[in-house]
Subunit: 448 residues, 4 copies
């Protein structure tokens, strides 16, 4: 966790204080269930709730140090916590954690933390979607060149390009919801999951009050396929962040200049070259995506724990639990801000669209020629011939545009008039279905 890539809301979920409060909540709920079941005295549950609440309400650094000190001796984190907690409860403390095992507390706590983290991430995606939808609408009909292989292909609109990201992040939202459901389970089933010394009703009680489902079969732990699926979902979302970041990096290239990250007053792009304005946010996001992707691997390796559990997953999760969610949260917020303020240059888009002498209309000509009776292969050759001739002289004194070259080609001229060619190449035809595609994603009837 690097402070510069962290937001306090997400960091707080993973703080020791939060963890201890959730641990206490689990123990208190468990005690209340046991009291209701008659396993422990009713007064014990009351004492635990009262004494513990006071203890965790204001956890100080001294408390954290004290817990650490006990852990150094016992080498066991939950026992250290319970010992500290017991100091605030008195003799009834012996009824805390009855029949439970540490993993009951640890894994259920992790479930609470991961679902809270998922909630933040989902909210992040919602904020991003607001920005993306707004910008997509703003440029719904702004022509720009579509590119495949980095090569001009056919016209599209900048709004349509952005709409694709709207659709992707709607999918990412659904994936985060599914990932949240994957990990939102509670297990209080004892050392090997048999409920030998705890009653399943206790588990049900705790689960219900924490908003979790009951884990159908826990061993000592909640099975780690759930967590692996969670971190994989984060990796997919992060890769989506990278896709949009990569788009912006391309658009801001000096030769393209169709869009640009907002450049703040006072900002300096380079220590050496005062003229520089660099797409540093989107490059940063690219790196952050790599990091989040990297965390999926150890999460997947965590699945195959030995027998009813070993603790190898724990060190992994102490690292990637916070680091993956904090990094992705930061990345999503940064992306939202970047897209919200992205400077867009429609004139430059128009300029680039026209820069290749009209060859970007080659498919429409190809189709018109086949419709006019040429074979597909013959039409392809003719159009390729004129397009290459146009391309090779781009920017040269003897340059000729695509239309001129086509009309000068006897094979083309033989089956198509200049008027027919102009109809075929009419840019207006490119966008007739744009509104329909918008309606697919944003709903409503197609505009226009």
């Amino acid at each position: 966790m690097v402070p510069r890539y962290s937001r306090p809301e997400m960091v707080a979920i993973w703080s020791p204080e939060t963890r201890f409060r959730i641990w206490f909540e689990i123990e208190a709920l468990a005690a209340e269930a046991m009291a209701a079941l008659g396993t422990i005295p009713a007064e014990a549950a009351v004492a635990i709730r009262r004494g513990g609440s006071a203890k965790v309400a204001t956890i100080t650094q001294a408390d954290l140090d004290r817990i650490d000190a006990i852990e150094r001796e016992t080498r066991h984190d939950v026992i250290a916590f319970l010992t500290w907690l017991g100091e605030g409860i008195g003799p009834e403390a012996r009824f805390v954690h009855q029949g439970m095992t540490s993993s009951d507390v640890l894994d259920t706590c992790l479930a609470v933390q991961m679902t809270r983290a998922a909630d933040l991430l989902i909210a992040d995606v919602d904020a991003l979607l607001v920005a993306l939808r707004r910008r997509a609408e703003e440029y719904r009909h702004t022509p720009t060149i579509g590119r495949s292989h980095g090569i001009h292909a056919e016209p599209t609109t900048f709004g349509l390009k952005l709409l694709g990201y709207v659709a992707e992040f709607e999918r990412n939202r659904a994936r985060l919801l599914a990932a949240r459901a994957e990990v939102a389970t509670c297990a209080i089933s004892g050392p090997v999951g048999t409920f030998a010394s705890v009653d399943p009703r206790m588990e049900a009680h705790v689960a219900k009050h924490l908003g979790l489902a009951v884990e159908p079969v826990s061993t000592q732990v909640i099975p780690r396929d759930r967590h692996a699926a969670f971190f994989c979902a984060l990796a997919v979302v992060a890769s989506g962040v990278e896709r949009l970041a990569t788009e912006v990096r391309h658009l801001q290239r000096s030769e393209v200049r169709e869009a640009e990250e907002f450049f703040h007053a006072g900002q300096k792009g380079s220590s050496a070259m005062p003229h520089k304005r660099n797409p540093v946010l989107s490059e940063n996001l690219t790196g952050l995506a790599r990091i989040v992707r990297g965390y999926a691997m150890p999460a997947l390796e965590n699945v195959a724990l030995w027998h009813e559990r070993d603790i190898s997953h724990s060190s992994v999760e102490r690292v990637i639990g916070p680091d993956a969610t904090i990094t992705l949260d930061f990345a999503l917020m940064r992306l939202t801000g970047m897209m919200d303020k992205l400077t867009v240059y429609p004139e430059r888009m128009a300029e680039n669209l026209e820069s290749l002498g009209g060859v970007v209309h080659s498919q429409k000509v190809l189709l018109a020629l086949t419709q006019a009776g040429m074979s597909r292969e013959g039409a392809y050759s003719a159009v390729q011939r004129s397009a290459m001739a146009t391309w090779q002289k781009l920017g040269k004194p003897d340059a000729q545009d695509f239309r001129t070259n086509l009309l000068a080609d006897p094979e083309v001229a033989a089956c198509m008039t200049a008027e027919a060619l102009d109809r075929a190449m009419d840019p207006a035809r490119d966008f007739v279905h744009v509104d329909q595609t918008f309606a697919r994603v944003l709903g409503g009837k197609p505009q226009g």
Copy 2:
């Protein structure tokens, strides 16, 4: 794709013949839609369907060579196919692929292949679940030691252990279903996804007949976050295979011997040591899981294609599309066979369960002591003391079991009679909730 780790059903999905047949089906459906829309003559669609069907019905090696030869010249796979296909259609071939771009065909075909692959994988999991449920029922009440950290913890049943895998593979089944839905979309939207030269109704027609949804916003391609999610799901499933394989490897260890892979007549475990019977299937599965996991990374890197697409994803998918699905399919089938025939040794389980002098009942004693009024810390110390004393003399002449040591401990004796201790340690208490857990997964009312 290594033949020894491949099943013909899955291999067939990825054969050139299958691919070309799906390509043709897409082109034929598209032509029929265009004919219905009046874009091309009705006779053209008929000619395409008839001529093409004959062509793809019996693709010979000579056909594959011919297509390869054309591709070597054009350096374009779809054009090579269309040229070959056109030879069987005649002049109407010029109406094939009208307004479409190669990716329309390639990506929709990939969707068909991936959904078929997913269907096989889901069937594999179903078969595995049948085997696992059967074995879980078979050993529902067979006592065995539960282990955490590889150390004896508390008794459980072998059926309950297996039930955890049933639950995990039910989750894996759901993940495969979700993964199938992720990739089951069709895109026929032209070079940059604008439908400039194709009608969206054509896309709807093809999608419907192929059992796919329409991709809401395609660029030139179906966005690769879908495929990344698919391969991540496979990685999670593979990791579940590894978990069960690892369990079997542990159970077959010479010192454990609680279960064993079926050893065939004529089988030889080692070229050097005739006494060996090794868990080679489960070790093999462990390796296969690593391979499938490894394929998730390039799939995730494929997401951030440039602009409306680049073709970097293609070589990745040519490799991992077949390799990941073929390997996982093989692994699931091998796992099913292995679990189906697993030799289980309940007597040895009982032996191991008893081998530590009864210390595995320590929690129940701890609870009884706290219930009897000892502080949690005091009870913990007393129980730990007796347990360690038992452990350290295991197998020695002066060994004493846990019960004896406890009764000899003045602090314990002070608050608990031998009868109370025996009640506390009663093994029957360990399994009272086993049926309830079974009911959670297998349904029905708890037995007994």
Copy 3:
């Protein structure tokens, strides 16, 4: 292994025939060593060499089928081979493989295969270096814009850009050599590496004749950290392939057009758009790099085998051994061909270099101003001001170049004449050290 991404030379290394020939060579050498040591009769070694040589000299498909059939019964690949081999040797066959274990054969064979594969890869890099050095020299003094963040930075030469790849692939060559040395060891030490039934002199004999070092401590296997290091080296090399491929993809962009992959007569860039010429080779290489990178993960997971060995590494290596080396070999050859024939457009480089109105000289002006007495901050502001003004009006009617804007700035004018500014911005100053950098890599004295 996908045929289209495979070269026969590398495929042959991993064929069953090659494997069986190496297995035989190991067994024959071992037998000869045993005969020399008196462990087996001298005639036995002669019979083994003679009978086995004949057997492996012409392995037919029928032989492969026969070995497979025996393996299906014994479920052991080495025993199947030895049985088949023995059929050609007669009664002396009982002296084959004396005291050895399968891994002695398998791992030493893998070492031979991996070193042969490494030799091919090193030769590939050598060929690539020849091409890269030639092209670097060719464009040693060809001005082009250097870019950071995709934004024009300062002039460089195209040869200098290529020289960086020369240096990188020289490092990659060294890494492949080191990787080769990692895996070039032989182990013939028996079932658990104790030499209980084999003499270490036998291992030394086999190692020497195969050109391998002796593994200092084998368990049952050669330790897998060696193989992990090997596959990591391949991943680094593949990432270098991707870096150069990415550079070409950028240079070929429609807006950049500074270089282009060779476009063959008859080649078709797109089924839909006849005007397209796409950087398909470099995009393909990008994907291949992802694949090779992905193989590093399972190789790393293979290291932690259980005890003296388990066989989980085997399925992984059956896949990634061939797949990683075949894919990287193909990628390197493809990259060499691509760079060899890359079409370079120096005029377009010059055009792009000039396209931003001279702001790319901003650092030189900044330095001149500070040398002339302005504070760093003041100079930075002044230069940034003029650069931004130039940038914002690029291509507009009221555009003014950087020099004009600077001279119109009172702060700049106050400390620098037009002549001084021209001296500062002189492009010739950019390249004074280019030859010196070339000399670092290509040796010789700096030219000029």
Copy 4:
């Protein structure tokens, strides 16, 4: 970076204070070189060294906050630092960083940090090797069972097992040294690596004083293949940590009990089960290894930066630079402590060695039978027959050991007397080469 998995020595390398001190050292050395070359006044270099030294000697939290504040405005970390530094230098501050670009400072600083980190890691491995060599010597002749596939194979010694790890960590040491050399380069070559505004002699001066080599061809940055190779090396070392940790986890299993992590007075193994002593250190190390492995992937993805650089690598390195080195450093130290204090149980090893009725001597019998004239296949069958019979009745009332079963087998009896069998099975034969293997690794003449 998780505090519990961090050592202060390694953390300090990555602190902001350290980073700023290295940045200053680079700038001061550069200024001194420039002064010597006459590029800036000699007094300027003196002022920079003096003013800056005072400034960085005692960096307070207020300084860090001040630098952060400037960075928030300029959005550029190096400019923020230079501005803050300049406040302590006065007007000569304008001569700082002349002709350099931020990456000159950042990348050279990173090289210093990574080499320092490598030095700590190498020292860690040295300490581990001391412990491992000591323990290997201690148990050089302690018999224990060697296992393949988790199944008893043949006897080995515990020292020999440990010796394999000595050899592996000697290789890991060499890899870390190579990794250190990979990243130990300095680049001061200006914005695109052309030395347009800096003199290569300045780079040479800085490199020399920092103990670095000169980067032959830098672009704007030191090429990232170097860093990728570094992090891959860490991943290999971490996987070696996992291998040893896995061995200990196996040895401590309840059924094996051949070794055990040191259990401290006051330590508690489980909150629920007072009898537990778990291999928590080795399990923790297994998890840490997964984490370090996971960092290799983003490092590999960092290689293919765009053109002369983009800044996507930066966020990755801010995370994995510290996290990978800190985690591996901690893991190595923990492993050293664990191995240093590992409790070893030679009696239990002897017990396990004998537990399978002698079948672990099967290979020696097989060899003796073939030497006595039986065919390999016949001998194999006979030995397998007796071994399986022994195995199946292990622990049963009618159990018979391997020797008894063999002697009762007519085929065996026909060609071997009881005395010959005893000679063949003599355990002493297993260890005759152990000293020789020790001599390979630890040098000296074989003992005994």
